[in-house]
């Protein structure tokens, strides 16, 4: 039994530590997804503004975030800001910030796409019943836009969850890092340790992302 690689997972505190690591990943994901959803909606609405200046400002933000790889943003905020501003930010906090900046940009673009895909007369009939511009967004545009952007937004959420694994590289100890630690300790005794550790990490990510996708499908059907 003892040479079965899978036992590595259940030795000592290993499994519990993996779950703890997963907790760190999920905390970063949940915080940044929440911030991104709220800010993304506002960014998306701003991107449909009547004013060219507002639109191009938002566009520049989106492009800047997209052009630079996420890993570079993590390094810039974690290492460079410290040097320039002498501001020592905790790695997890930097992860929250960078993922929120990224998520907001992506969510904003999704919201913009959904809002502009609505026929213009929806807005006009909202105005025609005496609603203010803001009320038209609140009661007419957003509820319909949310239904349209849901599949792609959920896709973004699962992408964000998976991409949190990058934070290893600024020293956050999350599920992947703990997995590597376990492998390092056990690899000499159990040569297949890395296979089993990565398999369990795969499984952990899967049981988190899969229900989210199922839920999205369910909502999509219900709102059709």
């Amino acid at each position: 039994m003892s040479d079965w690689g899978i036992n590595v997972i259940f030795q000592g505190q290993n499994f519990l530590r993996l779950l703890e690591g997963l907790g760190v990943s999920m905390r970063i994901a949940v915080v940044s997804v929440l911030i991104s959803s709220v800010c993304g909606i506002f960014l998306g609405l701003l991107m449909t503004s009547r004013y060219v200046a507002v639109r191009s400002l938002c566009r520049s933000y989106l492009e800047a975030v997209r052009i630079v790889p996420l890993l570079v943003w993590l390094f810039v905020f974690y290492f460079e800001l410290t040097k320039v501003l002498h501001l020592q930010l905790p790695a997890e906090f930097v992860a929250d910030i960078v993922f929120s900046i990224w998520g907001t940009a992506e969510m904003g673009d999704l919201v913009r796409g959904a809002v502009t895909s609505l026929p213009a007369h929806q807005r006009e009939s909202g105005l025609a019943v005496g609603l203010t511009r803001w009320q038209v967004y609140r009661y007419v545009i957003l509820p319909q836009a949310v239904r349209r952007l849901l599949p792609s937004a959920i896709n973004l959420v699962t992408r964000m969850i998976k991409t949190t694994s990058l934070v290893v590289l600024i020293g956050v100890v999350e599920v992947l890092k703990i997995g590597q630690q376990i492998i390092e300790v056990s690899i000499l005794k159990v040569p297949t340790a890395s296979f089993w550790v990565y398999a369990i990490i795969f499984f952990l990510y899967f049981i988190i992302c899969w229900p989210i996708s199922l839920w999205a499908k369910h909502l999509e059907k219900r709102w059709q």
Binding site: P119, L127, A128, G130, L131, Q144
Partner: protein
């Protein structure tokens, strides 16, 4: 002066451009309370644009619009407040697809006018009853036919208790057999004394419902007259040509 003779809506020298192109060339126009005016004219003559200017969906370049004697087009008055007095129904089926019939109707009165829910619900039920759709009040727009949707759209505008109703080619994208049910609702409204401004291509309807016909061509009012006179003996050659097209079709 009798109440019905009072001018409700007045337009002075209204000009409207799209880019450099002037669409409306200084329109002077007025509607009395209780009057039904039908705007006729070839496609692209500016009649729909004119209607849209009246409730602020299009910005105007110069001129003024007065409702009940006060200026509404100077930017000081808020359009959203004015639109509560000016009901509008569009050509496209413009119900909100994510709301039921009754939610569509209640949105304006509850959120824009902040009225009490039970009072508005009662009025909505009465109006739906009148257009024969009370049993469909919990349906979604996708479950309704085009004619039913337009009748709901009319009820939605009416439930705001507007002083005037604007109809922008409301039957133009309906199947022919559904046109009648919508026109009947409008005719009934006219008979009840609602002030109405109607853009339509239904000539027989125009003739029977209008107190006055306004013929617009190339952004100008070319002729204004009573329907009998307009349809039997138009005073301008342009109006005659316009009517000829329709008599040829019939």
């Amino acid at each position: 002066m009798k109440e019905t003779e009072k001018i409700l809506l007045e337009v002075h020298k209204l000009k409207k451009n799209y880019g450099n192109k002037e669409i409306l060339h200084g329109i002077d126009f007025s509607v009395h309370r209780g009057e039904v005016v039908v705007l006729l004219g070839p496609s692209g003559c500016g009649k729909s644009t004119f209607l849209r200017c009246l409730n602020g969906l299009e910005e105007i370049q110069s001129g003024s619009i007065l409702l009940d004697g006060s200026i509404i087009s100077d930017g000081k008055a808020e359009w959203y407040a004015i639109r509560q007095k000016i009901g509008m129904v569009f050509q496209s089926y413009d119900l909100f697809p994510h709301m039921t019939v009754i939610e569509n109707i209640l949105l304006g009165p509850l959120k824009a006018q902040k009225r009490k829910k039970n009072e508005v619900e009662k009025q909505a039920a009465e109006l739906l009853e009148r257009v024969g759709l009370l049993d469909r009040k919990d349906d979604y727009p996708a479950q309704l036919s085009g004619g039913q949707k337009q009748r709901v759209a009319i009820v939605r505008a009416l439930c705001m208790n507007p002083e005037i109703m604007l109809f922008d080619e409301v039957t133009a994208s309906l199947d022919p057999e559904m046109v009648r049910e919508v026109l009947d609702v409008m005719k009934e409204l006219a008979q009840q004394g609602m002030t109405m401004l109607i853009v339509t291509h239904e000539m027989n309807f125009a003739r029977s419902v209008a107190d006055r016909i306004v013929f617009i061509d190339e952004g100008c009012i070319v002729e204004e007259s009573e329907p009998e006179q307009f349809f039997t003996a138009p005073q301008t050659e342009r109006a005659q040509r316009f009517l000829d097209i329709f008599s040829y079709e019939n």
